[in-house]
Amino acid sequence: MVRWRSVAPMIGQTLDHYRVVEKIGEGGMGVVYRAHDEVLNRDVALKLLAPGAIDKVGRDHLLREAQTASSLSHPNICTIYQVGQTDKDFYVVMELIEGRSLTELVATMALSMETVMRHGVQIADALAHAHERGIVHRDIKSSNVMITPEGRLKVLDFGLATRLATEEVGDLTLSHDSLESKLVGTLPYMAPEVLRGQKGDHLSDLWALGILLYEAAATVQPFRGKTGFEISSAILREPPPPLPAAVPHGLAAVILRCLAKEPAGRYQRASEVRAALEALQGALLQSRQPHPSEETRGPRTLVLRGMEHLTVKNGDVLLMVGTNKGAFLLRSSRERARWDVAGPYFHGQGINAMAYDARNGRHRLWVSTNNVMWGTFLRSSDDFGRIWTNPLEASIRFPTDSGASLKNIWQICVGREEAPDTLYCGVEPAALFESQDGGESWCLVRGLYEHPHRPRWMPSNGGLLLHTIVADRHNRELMYVAISSGGFYRTEDGGATWQARNSGIRVVFAPEKFPEFGQCVHKIALHQSRPERLFLQNHWGIYRSDNRGDSWQDVAHGLPSDFGFAIVMHPHDPDCVYILPVESDEFRCTPEGHLRVYRTRNAGGSWEALTRGLPQKGAYETILRDAMSPDSLDPAGIYFGTRSGKLYASRDEGKSWKKILDGLPQILCVKAAIIQMDGAPAPKRHSEARPAAKRKSAHAQNAKRRNRR
């Protein structure tokens, strides 16, 4: 038996720079604590290995395994940050994962087959990543798989948990007594060859994946028994019991192939399992039988969505396009001459906000999906749209005491590089939410929500919304937001307090023309190389501030209209700004049917019309506030989408334009990003503002369970 010392003395102690906070779980190898990383100011999971485990397996061996596992970097694998040892202790520091294990999910709710496949694809992808690097898990089981509140799946304990287990397999199969040990939970996942005493390899991981998928689809494990002998005997000799009729034939076939008794009869690679499950995902809709009550409810359209996804390479340009009927993704090489298109994702839903988060080695797409019936959810993908999270519960929600309900998410803003788990969302009704754990949990920024001005903010045409979040990359306490109609607000203390800064910005819809607040600001822009200067598109008026918003000057010299929505900075030139004027608030279309981008290269001193390639006759277009975006290449690319569903691109900083897509639904947002893969040299960074804030996190309160083992 493995033994470890009493838990209590560990609480409050510090190992290296990790302060142990509380015990959150325990397993065959030791105890898991929540600890606080005092250097990086974040919570982590710290697994303190039991002395017995170290004695049995050997310190050097454990260290080597943990170090190997720490080389894995995959969105579905719990990241190991550090392995360490003191005189007495050997410990592993890893990502703190909040959520529920697959075991708990299967026990409490019926998973749809679509969910089973989505989880299966992610586990298979994690295994493929590890196997390609020569790392075998050896203890795949549903309790080692966590589903975060955001719906992301994480495989725990790569290369860690089972060295001991495999050493003890011999004992287990021979002794009834040992079945009382911690290893009982693992036995039902053991492959026949492992029970015969062979060391587990990548094919025994695939067997365990088959058991796990069977369990998720049927809610029971295939090989059961009252004793270890009965379970072992079933694993070695009996075929898996038939799966329930609700399990699609294709999924059943994948599971049974994983459960071939002879390793040679199984899939030979995890990537084959992934590919098989992905193919089934597309076909699931076709095989779904309509419920009898559906058939009596009138005609139906069955759209078979065999979607082509993007294959994205390092250095590619990615365009995220949100429409009122779904999201589209486009990719191109750096030449930006030809674009591949994928979508629509989230059929029929309004996509007001999208973002790309490349911090900390991620390739995460964020999207807010607004279903007019079923509400707004924040979702993400780590593989450029193949799999999206689908959280059970909304992660952004107003606290009960506010009495408010989320209507829409208008802006998703990734935080500074130095705070890679910080994100912000601007929502309707106007409020700012913050996440400090990579988007798993969110808190209302009370300093702004409880501002005394709030009761007098007025809904604009689109509602009362916080649609723009901009922050100073150099000063983590400084951040700006824009609210329609509330105006421009600034915080200098990381969000604790906010001040209206609208001096000089005109209001046309109230008797007082220059009030302290209440302006209908449409968008703001900032270049990080000149952080004291801001540009602002108002509901009538283009403004510039040279003092972080303390005062504003009208810079709409010679424009055909100073009404408009979108305003973006050139990525490398802080004096260069792009806008798309529309005629008026009554006739929100491009003036006189000319589709013209206007550019200033002297910070608003003068403006020039950019027309080459854009229609100059009968083009009554509207470009919404988030529907224009620059990329960060040189020469810069500028992209915008129209309400009529046309997508235009310039790859020469606006000199010439090309329509790259037509016939989309109303375009609500366009975001461009340059993809940077692991280990590749960094291309020039996108200059979009990155906000900063530091406050005590209240996320712990939201946590249900963490890194349970």
């Binding site: 679509e114 079923w374 519960e393 909304a394 989320l406």
Partner: protein, 95 residues
């Protein structure tokens, strides 16, 4: 205790293991809100899609007991009898 039956619309069956009809056990004399709470415990993905975080039925979701929209019978406090059939139905809307 009493049994009540929920009819789940197609878009939400992802959260009920593809079941279109779900039977739950509610306490005797339960109202719609209490029966929904029982449903949400079994199928947690439904809660935030049917109700707002302040506990109101979403604007474009209708809940029927039998053939009657609960908007006209006391909303979520509408009392249920054993065997009641509750339908969650998306409203006519779009754009």
């Amino acid at each position: 205790m009493m049994q009540v039956i929920f009819h789940i619309p197609g878009p939400l069956r992802e959260f009920t293991g593809n079941r279109g009809v779900v039977q739950v056990e509610a306490k005797k004399g339960a109202n719609v809100r209490e029966a929904l709470q029982t449903l949400f415990v079994a199928y947690p993905g439904l809660r935030d899609r049917v109700l707002t975080e302040s506990g109101e039925t979403r604007q474009h979701v209708n809940i029927f007991v039998g053939n009657e929209n609960v908007r006209y019978t006391g909303g979520l406090t509408t009392a249920l009898s054993a065997g009641a059939e509750i339908s969650i139905v998306p409203a006519i809307s779009g754009g």
